[in-house]
Symmetry: C2
Subunit: 588 residues, 2 copies
C-alpha cells in the first residue's frame, strides 16, 4: 500500500491521552497506531495494523519452522468443553459469558486448551500420528479486572497459542525444548531484551513452566535473578530455601506476657525492646511471627478462611499467595468473619487459635522459614498479650507450608545462595508442560504400539502478539517518540518533504516511487499545508528508523539521511540517494 | 510451510457428515478444510486456513489498489453507538449481546458502520480530509436463526467491510463506482460465476444498492434477470410495473353473493365457475383479491397487525414482505388476534373490514397491480359470502401499496417488459450508498470549503470472505471432490507417491523439494501405510488442481501429470518433470 501522509488515515496528537500512564500507551495513541474503543478494547489504525502483522509474521515463520501447523479456532465457544475441565467456573469474572438465541451457554475463548484437545481427539487415534504440534494466531478475550496500559493488558487481544501432543514424557520434553528454542528466535527477532524465568503453571495445571519476560521498568511482573548462577524466576515461582531444623532442648520455655496496645509488628517490637530488653541485641520484626487471616473464594462460590504465618519482617505477597491458592481468589477477612470466629483476637492472633487443633480450627499454613526449633514472639490470642519463646515443632505446628511471603532483593538464591536481584518485566511468552490434565478431563487417548490406549501428554505455549507491539514500543522510544526496530517498523523509510516548492514535492514523490519499486515500504510526508517543523515532529513521533529529509539542500543536489535511533544525520548527493538509503535500510 | 501427508493435521472422511446438505459443506468437511464446533461455528484446519488466507489476500490487494486503507476494529463493542443508531434493538435476536464484569452492555459486532463513523469523527474534521475509504477484514458475529450449510451462513464468520466518506453525493457516486469496479476484479480473480443485481438497502438505510451473487443451485437468494435488457434484481428489490388506471364507468355495480364453503382461493374459483359462470371464459384465481393478515413485531416489542391485498393467483412472499417492513419482523396472525378484531371473517376478509375506514381499522396495503378501475371478487367480511365486481378506486381503497407478492419467472421485466427469468445465487458482496443515516445519528460532520459544517455522506461495502470459500467450493467440485481454482488452491501441486518402494518416496521427496525451491507450494503424499488407491481418492477429494503421480513409471524414467479439473493425464520424462509441472502450474 502506497503511504502518503496527505491521504493516510492518521492524526498525530501533541498531548498524551488522559488515561495513558506508560510510554508505550501514550506514544502508540499519540502517533496514531491504536485508538481506544472501550477499556482494554482498541482499534488498530493503519500504521498499527502493519506493525501487528509484522509481529504475527515473525511468530508464524518460527512456528512453521519447528513443524507446528497453523489452524484457526473460533473465538465464540460452547460451554461444555470448559465445563468438563472446570474452567467455565474457575475463570470466574475473567471469562466473558453469553447466551445465544436458544439460551445455549457460550463463552469468548480466553485460551483454547479444551478445543485443541477435542480436535485432536476427533481426528487422531494412534501413536503413529504423534508427535503433533498445532498453533493459531487468534483474537482472545479476558474480562480483566484492571485492563491496563492500552494494549499491554487488553480485554480483546491477539495471542499465538500452540499445543504439543506426545505419547510420553520424553516426547513432551522434546516438544517443550523445540518450542523454547523457537521462542528464543522469535524474541530475538522482535528485538526484545528479555529473560527466561521459572514460572508457576498456575490455573493451567502441569509441571515444567517458564516465562519469557521483556525487561521493562513499567512491567507488571516482578522477577528475581541471580547473577552468580543464572537462576531467574518470577516472584510467584520462587521457592524459599528452608533453613535446617534446629535443636531446641536448650531453649527456654514459652511464656505469655502483657503487651498492651501492640496490634502491629512495629508497636510490638517497640514494646519488646522497652519491656523485655535483650542483653545482646535489639528485638527486630524478624523475631516475630505474624499471622494473617484471609478469606478464599472458590470458583463454586464457597468461602474458606485461611491463616498464614510469616516472619514479622515480611508482608504476605498478594500475587504469590494468589498463585498458590488458584483457582480460588483471595479476599479480605472482614469484621463479620471475625465475629464468626470469636477465638481470633484481632491483632493478637497466635498459633493457639489456628490449625487443625487450634481453638478456631482455621487452616494454618506457615512460611518455609518457620522450621522446627525456631523461636518466635507471636500473638497469645488475647487482646494486648503475646507469647515469647514459642518454639516451632515444640510448642506449635501448622497444617502445612505456603510460599506466600514477599521475595526481596538480597534474599538467598534458591539455587546457589547468592543474593537475588529484583527487576520488572512484561510477560511476553509462557511455555509449560500441561501433562495429562486436559487429555484426561476430555479423554484424549491414542493406541500405543502394543494396541493399548494411552493418555496423550500435552504442552501449551503462548505468546502475546498484540502485547508484543506494546512491549516493543515500551522498550524502543525516547522523549520524542517511538523508535521501531527495523523488522517491526510499519515502513522502511519516512521521507519528509521539508518545504512547499514543487521541486521538493516532485523529487520526494520520484524518490518514493523509486524506493517502492526497489521493494522498500515508504511513508512519504507530502502534505502541502504542514510546516517542516510539524513534519519533523511527526516523523520523530511515528518512529520509522530511517528518515530522509528532502529540503533546501535539493537546490544543491543533496538530501539528508537521519537515523532515528542515534540521531545521526548525513548529507548525500541526490545521485546516490537510492543506493545510500537502500544500504542504510538493509544493513542495519 | 512444508506439507507432507504423513504429518499433515488432516483426516479425510469417506462419508458425508450427517448435518451437511450442500456439496460445499460436505466436501469441505470430508476433505479436512473445516470442522464444526457448534452450529454455524467452525474451525479452519490447516488446508482450510490456507484457502481462507488466499481469498483474504485477493480482497486486500484490490481494496488497497483503490486506495482504501486497512485497519482493524475489535469484535467486542460497547452498546452505546449501536443504541444511538437504533441497531442495538433493531438487530433483534440476531445480535449476540453480553455483559462485562461491571454489568456494562456489550455486543459482538455484526457489522461496523457505527464504529467507522465514530472513528472518522474522532480523527477528521475537514472536507480536505475527504474522500476517504477504510476497510477491515475481520471476524463478525450474527446469531442466525438458521445457521446453514457450514461456513456458507455461519454465526462467526470473516467479512471484509469497507466504508467511504465523501463531502457530497457526487463524491459518493465516485466512491461507489470505485468499489463496484474493485468488486468486479475481486470476484473475477476468485473465479466466480456471478451476477450483479439490484438490491434493497434493508436495515442499513440508504439509497443505491447492488448485490454480487455467485450463481449456485443451492443459493439461498433468488434473483430475477431479463436477458433482453440486462436487468437483474434480487426478488426483494423487484418493483412491479403497475398497469395504468382503467376507466370504470361501464363496469357493473358490485354485489354480494352467497359462496358457501369457499375459504380458499381454489374453492372460491370452483364455486364461481359453477354458480356464476362467465360467458366468455372461466373464472381464474387472478380474478380474485386475496387479503392476508399478519402481525408485525417492532424492535421495541410492540405488535401491529397488517393486511395485504394481492391478486389471488399470487402468494405473499415472506422475504419480499420482510424486506418491506424491516426492521419489524413478520409473525402469524393468530386465533387470539382474530378474537381481538371480530369484524375480520377468517377466509372471507374483504376491503370493507380493512384500512383506515374499514370496520377493523387494520392498516391495509395493496399489491401495485390492484390499480384504479380493476374489478375483483373478494371477501364480503361474512362467513360464506363474497363480493363480486368490486372495483378498486370506486368501491374500495387502501392505505397504500406494498411490494410483497411473489415474483415469478415470466413476470414482466420492470425495465423493458420482457419476461423475467428466475435463478438462485449466494450473496457474496453488497455495495450500497448509506447516505447520511449513520453520519446524522452519530453527528459526523466536517467543515466545507466555506467553513460550514456538512454531514458526511457514506457508502458501505461488504464481502463475505469465509462465505466466499464455501461459494467457491460450491461452484468448483465434481462427484469425486473439490476442484480449486488455481489462485485459491491450498497448494499448487499434489504429488502422490503411488507405491512403497524407497525409490518412489525418495524421488517424490526430491521432486517436492525442487518444486518448493522454485517457489511452488507442494502437498506431498508420502504416507507409507496408505495404498495408491486411497491416495488417489484423497487427492481427488482435496482438489489441488495439478496432481503428479510418481509410481510404477518411475522405473522407466517417467511420471504422470494429471489435471484435476479435466481429468487429462500425460506422461512426462523425469528429466522434464520440474519444467513441465512448473509450466502447468503457471500457465493455467
Amino acid at each position: 500500500m502506497a503511504m502518503r501522509m496527505s491521504s493516510l488515515f492518521l492524526r498525530t496528537l501533541r498531548e498524551n491521552p488522559a488515561d495513558a500512564e506508560v510510554p508505550s500507551h501514550q506514544l502508540l495513541v499519540r502517533a496514531g497506531y491504536i485508538r481506544r474503543v472501550s477499556p482494554g478494547i482498541y482499534t488498530w489504525l493503519p500504521l498499527g495494523l502493519k506493525v501487528l502483522r509484522r509481529v504475527e509474521q515473525i511468530v508464524r515463520e518460527e512456528m512453521d519452522e519447528i513443524g507446528s501447523q497453523e489452524l484457526l479456532f473460533p473465538a465464540l465457544l460452547p460451554r461444555e468443553p470448559y465445563e468438563a475441565t472446570g474452567r467455565w467456573s474457575e475463570y470466574g469474572a475473567n471469562l466473558f459469558r453469553l447466551k445465544d438465541r436458544r439460551e445455549g451457554d457460550y463463552l469468548l475463548g480466553p485460551t483454547h486448551e479444551e478445543m485443541f484437545t477435542l480436535l485432536v481427539k476427533d481426528m487422531f487415534s494412534s501413536y503413529k500420528d504423534l508427535p503433533l504440534a498445532l498453533y493459531q494466531i487468534q483474537t482472545k478475550y479476558r474480562d480483566e479486572a484492571r485492563p491496563r496500559a492500552g494494549i499491554l493488558r487488553g480485554r480483546e487481544f491477539v495471542m499465538k497459542d500452540s499445543y504439543s501432543f506426545d505419547i510420553d514424557e520424553a516426547g513432551l520434553d522434546k516438544s517443550y525444548d523445540l518450542h523454547r528454542s523457537a521462542y528464543v528466535k522469535i524474541f530475538d527477532r522482535l528485538g526484545f531484551h528479555y529473560v527466561i524465568v521459572q514460572a508457576m503453571a498456575g490455573a493451567m495445571g502441569g509441571s515444567k513452566s517458564e516465562e519469557f519476560l521483556a525487561t521493562a521498568e513499567n512491567g507488571e511482573d516482578t522477577y528475581v535473578r541471580c547473577d552468580n548462577c543464572g537462576y531467574a524466576a518470577n516472584v510467584e515461582a520462587v521457592q524459599v530455601t528452608a533453613p535446617p531444623a534446629q535443636p531446641y532442648d536448650a531453649l527456654p520455655a514459652s511464656h505469655v506476657e502483657d503487651t498492651p496496645d501492640t496490634p502491629t509488628i512495629e508497636t510490638l517490637v517497640a514494646h519488646l525492646n522497652s519491656a523485655f530488653p535483650k542483653a545482646d541485641r535489639e528485638w527486630t520484626a524478624a523475631d516475630t511471627l505474624k499471622n494473617v487471616v484471609v478469606m478464599l473464594v472458590h470458583p463454586d462460590g464457597t468461602r474458606e478462611p485461611l491463616a498464614i504465618g510469616v516472619p514479622g519482617d515480611r508482608e504476605v505477597d498478594e500475587k504469590r499467595l494468589g498463585a498458590q491458592v488458584e483457582p480460588a481468589t483471595v479476599t479480605a477477612f472482614e469484621e463479620k468473619d471475625f465475629a464468626a470466629y470469636p477465638t481470633l483476637a484481632k491483632g493478637y492472633i497466635g498459633p493457639g487459635a489456628l490449625g487443625e487443633k487450634g481453638t478456631s480450627g482455621l487452616r494454618y499454613l506457615l512460611d518455609p522459614r518457620v522450621v522446627e526449633g525456631t523461636a518466635w514472639v507471636t500473638g497469645a490470642d488475647q487482646p494486648g498479650r503475646h507469647v515469647l519463646d514459642l518454639v516451632a515443632g515444640r510448642d506449635f505446628s501448622a497444617d502445612g507450608t505456603i510460599e506466600a511471603a514477599e521475595v526481596r532483593p538480597g534474599d538467598a538464591c534458591p539455587s546457589c545462595g547468592s543474593p537475588l536481584l529484583s527487576a520488572r518485566g512484561i510477560e511476553m511468552g509462557h511455555i509449560f508442560q500441561l501433562g495429562t490434565k486436559y487429555a484426561e478431563a476430555l479423554d484424549l487417548k491414542v493406541l500405543d504400539e502394543f494396541g493399548k490406549l494411552q493418555t496423550v501428554i500435552m504442552g501449551s505455549y503462548g505468546i502475546g502478539v498484540s502485547r508484543a507491539v506494546a512491549a516493543i514500543a515500551e522498550g524502543n522510544h525516547d522523549e520524542f517518540g517511538l523508535v521501531w526496530p527495523r523488522h517491526i517498523s510499519p515502513a522502511d523509510v519516512h521521507i519528509v518533504a521539508a518545504g512547499k516548492d514543487d521541486s521538493i514535492l516532485t523529487y520526494g514523490e520520484e524518490l518514493t516511487r523509486a524506493l517502492e519499486a526497489g521493494g522498500l515500504e515508504v511513508l512519504f510526508d507530502d502534505r502541502r499545508q504542514a510546516s517542516p517543523g510539524v513534519k519533523f515532529k511527526d516523523a520523530e513521533l511515528i518512529g520509522i528508523p530511517t528518515i530522509v529529509v528532502v529540503g533546501k539542500g535539493l537546490a544543491d543536489g543533496t538530501i539528508e539521511i537521519k537515523d532515528r535511533r542515534s540521531g545521526e544525520r548525513r548529507t548525500v548527493p541526490v545521485a546516490d540517494a537510492i543506493a545510500e538509503i537502500t544500504r542504510e535500510v538493509t544493513s542495519a
